[in-house]
């Protein structure tokens, strides 16, 4: 079947030329595993890599040899026992959205009193957990932080599942934009001198909102905007820095997909958005592709199955029929992948095979890395 020599190039390119790798794609396509594989391969090549995941999947922690799970600060992974030489280092951590957000507030606040008023505010706690884009924002913030950390020279980050690649590009500005919100200005403008919040009763719109959602909720949000006053500029500045890093040439975007029509469609959409934004797709990785099992097409295997059946060799017939089914999947998958190959560039797309078992240890990740970067990639 189609030799997949390009796989090696796709991987080499992205690991050696980047200091930040952002893995994006829709949910359930193996972004987290891909991020771990890239981190492991980078470590093999002598880099000091840290993988940040937003996925609390137990299995990854187990695969990395962390029985207590991933922590919210980088932990060194013991790579001495895998079946190949590793000259660099690998660390991993899980994104802690709320703690990262608290850290930002502490950095930008003028004093301890302001910090406490914000952290204790119900509306703030909702923002930290529920404002759309917060998770992406904190992932971007964390990667900025790690990028500046001398212990690491490569940060691999796994993004939250999202329909929109721009979510991640725009996420750092999410709070700044929120603070720019009309409601904020509605609350603040009438008393610009002292930034005193106006009484809800005097503002018909606020009165109306209070009627719908209840007055306690409204009071919390008013108190939140009040507590945040003065911090917008600091947040905006920081957001600009983070965005600059995400858009820097040393930052690579790897689009991850599974070989299914719908997820490829989303990966292509991601890719198009990235190209439009001028960042582009560095590589595309398609996980869990069915291997072809030898040369030849599904149709040929089916002919062999029929011939064997005519000779009353049922065992051989079943074996050929099995190959025919697996090759049918392989061929169908190559067909749906084509548009992604087009947008990523022919030699920037790598297919990773569906393995016969789940990955449950570092050697499993190592095997995958071997498929991605080995010279004779013949699946």
């Amino acid at each position: 079947m189609m030799p997949n020599r390009d796989a090696a190039d796709a991987g080499l390119d992205v690991i050696d030329s980047s200091s930040v790798i952002i893995c994006c794609g829709s949910g359930g396509v193996g972004k987290t595993t891909t991020a771990a594989v890239l981190g492991l391969e980078a470590a093999r090549r002598g880099r000091r890599a840290v993988v940040v995941t937003i996925d609390p999947a137990r299995r990854l922690a187990d695969a990395l040899g962390l029985p207590d799970g991933l922590a919210s600060t980088p932990q060194r992974i013991d790579v001495d026992h895998i079946s190949g030489p590793v000259s660099g280092e690998l660390s991993a951590m899980m994104l802690d959205t709320a703690a990262t957000f608290d850290g930002l507030v502490k950095r930008h606040a003028d004093n301890q009193d302001q910090v406490e008023r914000i952290l204790n505010n119900a509306f703030y706690r909702n923002i930290a957990g529920a404002l759309s884009g917060t998770q992406e924002y904190m992932a971007a913030e964390t990667l900025h932080e790690l990028h500046g950390d001398d212990r690491f020279d490569l940060v691999v980050v796994d993004t939250p599942p999202s329909r929109n690649a721009l979510d991640f590009l725009e996420a750092p500005g999410v709070l700044a934009r929120f603070l720019d919100h009309r409601l904020f200005r509605l609350l603040m403008l009438p008393t610009r001198g002292g930034l005193k919040v106006i009484g809800t009763a005097t503002q018909p719109l606020l009165k109306a909102i209070g009627k719908v959602v209840g007055s306690e909720v409204l009071a919390d949000s008013v108190a939140f905007f009040q507590a945040f006053a003065g911090m917008e500029a600091g947040f905006r500045e920081r957001a600009d820095e983070v965005v600059a890093l995400i858009r820097a040439p040393e930052t690579s975007f790897v689009v991850v997909a599974s070989p299914r029509h719908d997820t490829i469609g989303e990966a292509v959409w991601f890719g198009e958005q990235l190209v439009e934004q001028g960042v582009g797709v560095t590589s595309a990785i398609v996980n869990r592709a069915h291997p072809a099992f030898g040369e030849g097409s599904a149709a040929e295997a089916l002919v062999s199955a029929d011939e064997a059946r005519e000779r009353a060799d049922d065992v051989l017939s079943a074996l050929w029929a099995n190959v025919a089914e697996l090759r049918t999947m392989h061929e169908a998958e190559l067909e749906v992948i084509a548009p992604l190959r087009e947008i990523a560039g022919k030699d920037r797309l790598a297919l990773l095979p569906l393995l016969d078992r789940d990955i449950h240890d570092l050697d499993g990740l190592w095997t995958i890395a071997g498929h991605l970067f080995a010279q004779n990639n013949d699946h």
Binding site: N126, F293, W320
Partner: protein
């Protein structure tokens, strides 16, 4: 109409509203389409609801009624219908909904569930199948009502939350169907979600649908059923028989490919069987298995084929009382 004994479709459509939930990539939308198609084939008036603004569902069941519900539109509609037209207008104009949604998280989910409740009450449909929210959002989606009725003490949103809670707590009106794949992580996730939903929402759980199963027990046979390949691999030769059969072949490369392919398939199937057993042991609810198809993207034809599996009494259903 359904016979006395339960079969997959009957248990999957035991409530008027069926919310299909599961993590990304497990085939939530497929299962939504298959349930709707199977129910429609028995003459039920079926409505599909999608929440993510994608056209996938409508493409899978082109002749069925699909309604897209978005939170801002549902809130707007609710306010207008309940005498808050002026607020609705102002909320939209100022774009305050985002702020309101952050102030009271779950408000967007509440108005969506409220809209579904309204459709259920309308009596226009025998069955409403909801393609639930994406990723890990199912639990927050379904707990929004309980959370909000604790936080908001009065007003129309509170009233809506109370109505939604009533719907969620009534097993005849609403049930959740969780979707998994026969693999480690999806099984873990479905088990966690099932317990979380039972603990926090108290919603009725329907059968768990396990999607893309290579081997499906029972009379319907096995494998990638009725795909483009005519032969169905019901029983793969074992390793010994395989080696004996390929020893007659002249080309060692071909022989190796046949051996490797058989070993691969056997290994995948073993893993699936282990995961199905683990799911059965962890969750005392029935499981419905949907066979994998030999395609890299489903079409309406595949949905029809899978729906006929659901509508076939006595197949592809594993008892849930063994755990």
């Amino acid at each position: 109409m359904p016979p006395e004994s339960e079969y997959p479709l009957q248990s999957l459509t035991a409530a008027r509203v069926v919310v299909v939930a599961g993590k990304g990539g497990v085939g939530k939308t497929t299962v939504t389409a298959v349930i709707a198609r199977a129910a429609s084939a028995t003459g039920q008036r079926v409505l599909l609801v999608e929440l993510d603004g994608k056209p996938t569902l409508a493409n899978l069941v082109p002749d069925l009624e699909v309604l897209a519900i978005s939170a801002p539109e549902a809130l707007d509609e609710y306010l207008r219908e309940h005498g808050f037209s002026r607020i609705a207008k102002r909320l939209n104009r100022t774009g305050v909904i985002e702020v309101v949604g952050t102030a009271a998280p779950g408000i967007d989910d509440i108005v969506v569930l409220g809209k579904i409740k309204q459709l259920e009450r309308s009596g226009k449909y025998d069955l409403i199948v909801v393609d639930g929210p994406a990723a890990g959002h199912a639990i927050t989606f379904l707990t929004s009502a309980a959370g909000l009725s604790g936080a908001v003490h009065s007003g129309p949103v509170r009233a809506q939350a109370d109505d939604v809670l009533e719907l969620l707590h009534d097993g005849e009106r609403c049930q959740v169907v969780l979707v998994a794949l026969p693999e480690t992580t999806p099984v873990n996730e479905v088990v966690e979600t099932a317990f979380a939903l039972e603990d926090t929402v108290g919603v009725q759980l329907g059968p768990v649908v396990v999607n893309m199963v290579d081997v499906v027990g029972g009379s319907s046979g096995a494998g990638f059923v009725s795909g483009p390949v005519a032969t169905v691999i019901e029983s793969l030769p074992g390793d010994v028989a395989t080696r004996a059969a390929v020893s007659q072949l002249d080309d060692p490369v071909v022989a190796a490919a046949l051996v490797e392919a058989a070993a691969f398939r056997r290994s995948r199937r073993e893993m699936e069987a282990e995961e199905l057993a683990r799911l059965a042991a962890a969750l005392p609810i029935p499981r419905v298995l949907l066979p994998a198809r030999l395609v890299a993207g489903l079409s309406p034809i595949d949905i029809d084929a899978l729906a006929s599996v659901l509508g076939d009494p006595g197949v592809n259903r594993e008892a849930g009382d063994d755990a």
